[in-house]
Amino acid sequence: MKVLLADDSATMRTIIRRSLEALGFTGTVEAADGVQAVERFKEGGVDLVLTDWNMPGKTGLEAARDIRALDKNVPIVMITTEAEKARVLEAIQAGVSDYLVKPFTTEALQKKLERFVQPA
């Protein structure tokens, strides 16, 4: 199971990666912005995308649009502080599969992910 994790905060990447490992997801590749996220995705084999919204350069929303154009089925979960309904709708329209608001618990992340994938 290869998870692509995009967040410009190294701290958040560490926290999310640790949560993923606790849930049994060990194959995480990381990206520090939307451009890197799309590049990593193009390298292939990604089963799940977790992305922040606000990132420098290309945002998570723009990256989600690009990734969705490349792959209609890969689950994309937005993990962000952007909690308003309008922003959630915007993300869903961009092809985001689900949405998790920071701060979150490992249990909340698990609930979101079990809709789409199970650890290998």
Partner: protein
């Protein structure tokens, strides 16, 4: 004086939730105590622009920043780099900013967080006023959150 959309209680709830979730540390109101900047002078900020615009500031001590970063990264404090502290403090401020954004009229966007270091600077945001201020302690360390609110069509 403009009407304030964010109460101190709402700010406290936000901080309590974020600190509890990210750090598993309780917070306590600082009462009337004034926050005294330490030599490190860390100031994290994130801006909100749109139907409401303003700025959220987080002013922690370096000691707290180090402790929080160690918890968030699950690393000993001695192994942390300064860049780790700045990133962790920025992310805490970012989450407070996201919470404040959900309390004020939208639509609006949140900037990327930034962190300043040192005390020899002046932060000027034209046409803003201090809308809310929360002094609190965590792990025996004092810190403060300030919300600066700009004049918008919403008022």
């Amino acid at each position: 004086m403009q009407a304030t959309l964010i109460s101190q209680e709402q700010l406290y709830e936000l901080v309590e939730t974020i600190w509890g979730s990210m750090l598993s540390l309780p917070v306590a109101p600082a009462g009337g105590d004034f926050f005294v900047r330490d030599a490190a002078g860390l100031t994290a900020s994130v801006q909100i622009t749109g139907a409401w615009h303003g700025c959220v500031l987080l002013l922690p001590t370096e000691s707290f920043a180090r402790r929080a970063t160690a918890i968030m990264l699950d690393q000993p404090e001695a192994e942390l780099q300064q860049v780790d502290l700045l990133d962790a403090v920025a992310e805490l401020c970012n989450m407070i900013g996201g919470g404040v954004k959900s309390l004020v009229p939208g639509p609006s966007t949140l900037s990327l967080p930034s962190v300043m270091q040192g005390t020899q600077f002046a932060l000027r945001m034209p046409k803003t006023h201090l809308a809310a201020q929360l002094a609190f302690t965590c792990d025996s360390q004092p810190m403060e959150v300030r919300v600066l609110e700009g004049a918008t069509a919403a008022h």
